[in-house]
Subunit: 219 residues, 2 copies
DNA sequence: CCGGTTATTGGCACAACGCCAACAAGCACG
DNA sequence: CGTGCTTGTTGGCGTTGTGCCAATAACCGG
């Protein structure tokens, strides 16, 4: 009868770590950085506050890691087997997968898009930038099967990125503002893609040869 | 010779206020919220720290007001007299004005775009949302002279917003990544606009009548 | 059963924020 | 030219939250 219930249970390193990370991700999604205290995260995870710093260092580090997992998770719709099929059919399916993913992870996606204010935050910027580059790579890989995405010309990458901007705004108009039905969002994404890569691409390439690359503006 | 130099000079209410606001805007643009202390803002403005709270309340309030002035200032390129002239000519001029504004306020615009992390911040969201709505209104007013912008159908607003997303991404590809020359950015913005409002609009409207408005998704 | 490893805790120290009462700069009036 | 009043401005105090560290105890291997 000496079996005394332990005051706390001891978890494996990664297990406890991901547990804290899960709660942190949820809280940081609901409110902005300053409105979430480490004490609250600790309470939600059922651990002492000090443990958070033991695993993640500073509160900001935890935030950045949560952001990292947030943006790298839901942004990759499963690419289907797209061998040698009709391109327009593939596009239509890709748009549908995107819309489907959105309607399933609505809250997550909106939160991941982020709504902080302004200011240069190089850490946050690089995380988001990497995520966007990966997304662009996926699109390029789907458009040019067999070729290396990194080998695509810069203005082509830029064009994909521009379309991504259009897609992001379109998705938000559907999900948040309700100014588009799902059908309309689909049409906009589908036709927008065709328009951008059918005619706009030609114009951009023409502008590229007409006026040879002027000096790149430094970041 | 009893003229003693005063230890500090007394400014008018709005004058001191805008002075603090200027320095706060600069600092918040360079670094993220947490990396800027009220003490630093006070030091930069040459005032006591307490004065900041006297004028703006909390640090967050100051931040929000700085953001407010930031997004409402540089985003409005001066609309020229666009009476009954050639639409395509007007578009070309509008694009040039936009590019010109960008190259002049490069740092400001990039900072105002924000290096957001994630999380829902209703205050920040509404400020940014208002700014975007105003920008959309300006574009609609330019496209439909004499009509009330608010009277435009929702899917039209959404389309303008989608184009704005494309324009934002395009601008960043030029300014920050240098993957587009200015000429290419101009071509992309110009042709993209035509493509979106020539053919995509038709498809979106068709999708609207084909599938009548389903229930709006609440914010 | 017992000693070692290490996950976990609780509390201390420090920095930053919010607030408030006292002070003084400049103006109006005598 | 002095004097009192208005209010812009200051300095410091209390509180909150973060970062860190030494002590503790849960679990595993011998």
């Amino acid at each position: 009868m000496t079996a005394v219930a332990p005051r706390w249970n001891r978890l494996e390193h990664d297990e406890r770590r991901s547990q804290i990370l899960t709660h942190a991700r949820r809280l940081f999604s609901e409110r902005h950085f300053g409105a979430v205290s480490t004490a609250e995260i600790a309470r939600a995870a059922g651990v002492a506050r000090g443990l958070i710093h033991h695993y993640f260092g500073t509160k900001r580090d935890l935030y950045l890691e949560a952001l990292q997992t947030m943006v790298s998770m839901p942004l990759q719709p499963v690419p289907a087997e797209l061998d040698g099929r009709d391109p327009e059919q593939l596009l239509a399916e890709g748009v549908d997968r995107w819309l489907e993913m959105l309607s399933r992870n609505r809250e997550t996606w909106i939160a991941a898009r982020g709504a902080q204010g302004f200011g240069r935050d190089s850490d946050v910027e690089s995380i988001l930038e990497d995520a966007r580059e990966n997304a662009v790579d996926e699109v390029i890989a789907a458009m040019r099967p067999g070729e290396e995405p990194a080998a695509a010309p810069p203005e082509f990458r830029a064009l994909v990125r521009a379309y991504a901007g259009l897609a992001e705004a379109t998705s938000l108009e559907w999900l948040q503002h309700g100014r588009l039905t799902r059908e309309q969002a689909r049409a906009l994404l589908y036709e927008g893609f065709i328009a951008v890569f059918r005619q706009v691409l030609i114009a951009v390439e023409a502008a590229g040869v007409a006026a040879p690359p002027q000096k790149a503006i430094p970041a």
